[in-house]
């Protein structure tokens, strides 16, 4: 496990100052005391001496400077501390002559150059840094007479292993998914991209949560202004804690008034790496398996990694199928409403007869019928998500029966409506980006409402309004409808269809990457 040191984004408000737990010299956040006992006492005081705080003093021969270790049991790997830190300190002591009087500085030099067998540590004087480090599992090493403190990475946490992602399953493609540990997630990215220009910029997010956040991109691909903008937005986050990357998403997205996701999230490392390689930026947050991809355009909501793994013909056809699914999921129930209640003439006469016959016993107008069924379906979906897996299946069967058989037999809805609802539901599940699916679900109800008042006219006007809304949206300065409007024809090869790979030899034009070609003739490169 690599130990990663995070830097603070900013310190506008320090929790230490607020809590009032520190006085005297510590109030300025700096650590100047050279006396080990005083320093440790200060830490213990600030933390109010919790049970799991481990403090240990190590002393060598008479007159040798005392060392102290401070860490939190459980967060830090005690075995590692014993095997590496404590042992190396003892070795350092014994390396000096017995009679020699040594200063702390000398001891530190020895430790640093010869003995300390840890992967990574940093020097700090700031009390804040030490506290955050200790509280996230690092070990603080104090040496008498040295005014710096060594913060040694010793995090240990048993999390979930790398498992198959739950939300974005594919038929063909890697089975790995991100998990809650940011270290693992970074490794997953690094294992896929061994480019020396891959940048993993680390931040700490949350005044109290102090979670690690990583901005990952490839330096000589990504547009410099894009990465600047992402960093600017991340640095401006000022919040107590970011429990999930969704919080980050909401804080840095361009507009919070839109139902459409302006930042895509994924559990799949392959999706994240391909985004990085396209010239996009990925954000990882500690404690969540969901990575954020930005900028996002509407086209990417309908794309799935599988499109690229299958041969182009299959990929293209399936993609077209998904566009159809979007259209059906948006408009199918409203078309039913419009046709049945306004434009009966548009239905072929034979079908019109059978619809009329089926609707004969139904006491409600088509609008009520459609809303009833759609609402039931949404309830069913929500219940299915909440319930534990074994019970979820039962709900599926019960709900299916209610929606399918019983409602029709009771004469509440017509069988045609059941078909409409079922097809709509299937279509909405076929959209790869879950957050986009929700947007279309919301809009579906709005279109249904419009259709119930103005028929086709209402549908088309609502669609126009959605288009207006979409063409106003931006994701990190990139218009949401790119590459459709504004048009980038080269990118159309990877929009409605997925052109054969040799034709996709360049990165998306709209991202304005520094290094355009990803195949064949390369200029420069590393």
């Amino acid at each position: 496990m690599p130990r990663i040191m995070f830097r603070n984004t900013h310190n506008k408000r320090s929790p230490l100052r607020k809590s009032g737990g520190s006085q005297g010299s510590a109030s300025d956040g700096n650590f100047t005391g050279r006396n080990v006992h005083e320093s440790v006492a200060q830490i213990v005081r600030v933390l109010d001496a919790p049970d799991d705080l481990v403090t240990r003093f190590i002393s060598g021969a008479e007159g040798a400077p005392v060392c102290a270790i401070v860490c939190i049991a459980g967060l830090a790997d005690l075995k590692m501390i014993n095997d590496h830190i404590v042992t190396s300190i003892q070795q350092a002591y014994s390396a000096f002559e017995r009679s020699e009087s040594i200063t702390g500085q000398e001891l530190y030099q020895r430790l640093d150059k010869q003995f300390l067998s840890v992967q990574k540590y940093k020097l700090t004087q700031s009390l804040d840094d030490i506290l955050v480090g200790v509280l996230s599992g690092d070990t603080a090493l104090f040496i008498d007479g040295v005014d710096q403190v060594l913060l040694i990475g010793s995090k240990q946490w048993t999390g979930r292993g790398v498992e198959e992602p739950e939300t974005e399953s594919l038929v063909r493609g890697p089975r790995e998914g991100f998990n809650e540990s940011i270290e693992t997630n970074i490794i997953l990215l690094r294992r896929a991209i061994r480019d020396p220009k891959l940048r993993i910029d680390t931040y700490r997010i949350g005044e109290r949560g102090k979670k690690g956040l990583v901005i990952a991109y490839i330096d000589n691909i990504v547009h410099p202004e894009l990465i600047q903008e992402v960093k600017r937005r991340v640095e401006s986050i000022d919040i107590d804690d970011a429990p999930e990357s969704g919080t980050i998403e909401q804080l840095i997205q361009d507009s919070f008034l839109s139902p459409f996701p302006l930042i895509l999230h994924t559990e799949r490392p392959d999706k994240a790496t391909s985004a990085i390689l396209q010239g996009k930026v990925v954000i990882l947050l500690d404690g969540t398996p969901f990575a954020l991809i930005m900028p996002t355009t509407i086209v990417s909501l309908v794309q799935s990694p599988e499109d690229y793994y299958e041969r182009w013909l299959i990929g293209s056809l399936i993609r077209i199928l998904r566009y159809t699914a979007v259209f059906i999921s948006l408009t199918f129930p409203s078309l039913y409403i419009a046709l049945v209640s306004f434009h009966q003439g548009m239905i072929p006469s034979k079908l019109a007869f059978s619809i009329a016959a089926a609707r004969e016993g139904v006491p409600f107008p088509a609008v009520i019928e459609a809303f009833l069924m759609e609402l039931t379906l949404e309830l069913l979906r929500e219940a299915g998500v909440r319930l534990p897996k074994p019970v979820g299946q039962t709900i599926g069967i019960v709900g299916g029966l209610v929606i399918g058989e019983a409602a029709v037999q009771a004469g509440i809805v017509s069988p045609i409506m059941v078909i409409v609802v079922a097809v709509t539901a299937m279509s909405s599940f076929a959209i790869p980006a879950y957050s986009a699916g929700i947007a279309f679900r919301i809009l579906r109800f709005i279109i249904m409402l419009a259709a119930s008042m103005f028929g086709l006219y209402g549908i088309i006007l609502t669609l126009i309004m959605i288009c207006i809304h979409l063409s106003r949206l931006n994701s990190f300065g990139i218009p949401y409808l790119t590459p459709l409007a504004p048009s980038y024809y080269r990118d159309w090869r990877d929009m409605f269809i997925r052109a054969p790979l040799p034709m996709l030899s360049k990165r998306p034009q709209f991202l304005q990457t520094k290094d355009e070609s990803r195949m064949g003739s390369r200029e420069g490169g590393t």
């Binding site: 894009l226 361009d254 239905i347 086709l456 088309i460 006007l461 207006i468 063409s471 990139i478 218009p479």
Partner: protein, 368 residues
């Protein structure tokens, strides 16, 4: 917010092309065959359309020349530089009024036709009101939105026309077109005035100059954009006449819609293609109206620089609604259209020509 190299609030060449094309295509296409045939009584009307189109392209070229002479300046500023502030103010306000009238006409047209082809009971007032509300929503954002909307909708609209024409090709009867060249040439030239009306719309560029990415390319883009309606008009005219013959076309209110009525969807998947046709046609009608509304807002904003866009759009709503409700029947609506067209020829063709001539004579140029 910082934009990302691609000028967020600027529009490129293709957007100009699509917007000019979309702005021009509108009601003209639905009524043009009738209006032309009523005057020429034969298929020779295509010459009138051609003359009108070429004339309109010439004037759109003049407009584009004028704006590329004054990069990033709108009509008010150009006028101010060439003929002085007071006159420029007058022209700009006239332009705004003309555009608002155009919005009203377009909205009213949508309402009238949807009563014919979509629903017969919903009152015109409500249908227009809904359209007007969507228009206000559309113009309350930045202008570049509408350009993007145009690039989205133009392919759909062109495709729709081609589907319409292709599906009718089996009904096409060549004998309906005969005889050729029977109309007096003077008649043809006079009729071309009617077709010129259908080519108005390019004058929007007078106000979008400030957001154009490459003003130098505007000339080419707008000329190409004008070619699209010219080609479509000619195609639709010929096919409509080939379908119905001159007499029937002359007595049909919306011949193109009737063309859609003839379509039988293969497989009988649904009937009444004309409803679908008109629903999709609303896309381009909406675009024309929204662009016109937007331009009139820009014109007012140019004069009264303190006016707030959204407040202005909402404030103009009731006035627009009153104008929309003025024509009592189809005849009055057509009279209304005719006035607007004359106004359009005035502010869209004559004024830019004079301005360009004066600018050249006086040697006035905009700052690059």
């Amino acid at each position: 917010m910082k934009s990302f190299e691609y000028g967020d609030r600027e529009v490129g060449t293709y957007e100009v092309f699509a917007s000019v094309a979309n702005m021009v295509i509108g009601f003209g296409l639905l009524t043009l065959p009738r209006i032309i045939v009523q005057k020429t009584h034969s298929v020779d009307g295509w010459v009138s359309i051609l003359i009108g189109g070429v004339g309109a392209i010439f004037f759109s070229w003049i407009v584009a020349k004028l704006i590329s002479r004054f990069p990033k300046q709108n009509l008010y500023e150009i006028g101010g530089a060439v003929i002085g502030k007071p006159l420029a103010l007058l022209i700009t306000l006239m332009f705004a009024v003309y555009m608002l009238a155009f919005v009203a006409y377009e909205t009213r047209g949508v309402a009238s036709i949807s009563r014919l082809y979509l629903f017969d009971r919903t009152p015109v007032e409500i249908v227009s009101l809904v359209f007007l509300l969507v228009l206000i929503y559309g113009v309350s954002g930045p202008s570049v939105t509408l350009f993007r909307l145009n690039t989205l909708f133009l392919p759909i609209v062109i495709m729709l026309i081609f589907v319409l024409l292709l599906m009718n090709i089996s009904h096409f009867d060549f004998h309906n077109l005969m005889p050729f060249f029977v109309t007096d040439w003077r008649e043809l030239v006079i009729t071309s005035k009617e077709s010129t009306f259908s080519f108005l719309g390019f004058e929007i560029l007078l106000f979008y100059n400030s957001i154009l990415n490459k003003p130098k390319k505007a000339v080419k883009a707008s000329t190409l954009g004008m070619l699209i309606p010219l080609i479509l008009y000619l195609l639709v005219f010929l096919i409509t006449l080939g379908m119905f013959g001159a007499e029937v076309t002359a007595s049909t209110l919306y011949p193109t819609e009737e063309l859609a009525k003839q379509v039988e969807v293969p497989g009988g998947f649904f009937e009444r293609f004309e409803s679908i046709f008109f629903s999709v046609w609303i896309l381009t009608l909406f675009n024309s109206a929204a662009m016109a509304f937007d331009v009139s807002l820009l014109a007012i904003e140019a004069v009264f620089s303190k006016a707030k866009r959204i407040a202005l759009a909402i404030g103009l709503g009731p006035i627009l609604f009153l104008i929309i409700m003025q024509p009592q029947n189809i005849d009055e609506l057509q009279l209304f259209a005719e006035w607007i067209s004359y106004a359009g020829i005035g502010v869209g063709m004559v004024v830019p020509t004079l301005l360009l001539l004066l600018a050249i004579l006086r040697g006035v140029k905009g700052r690059a």
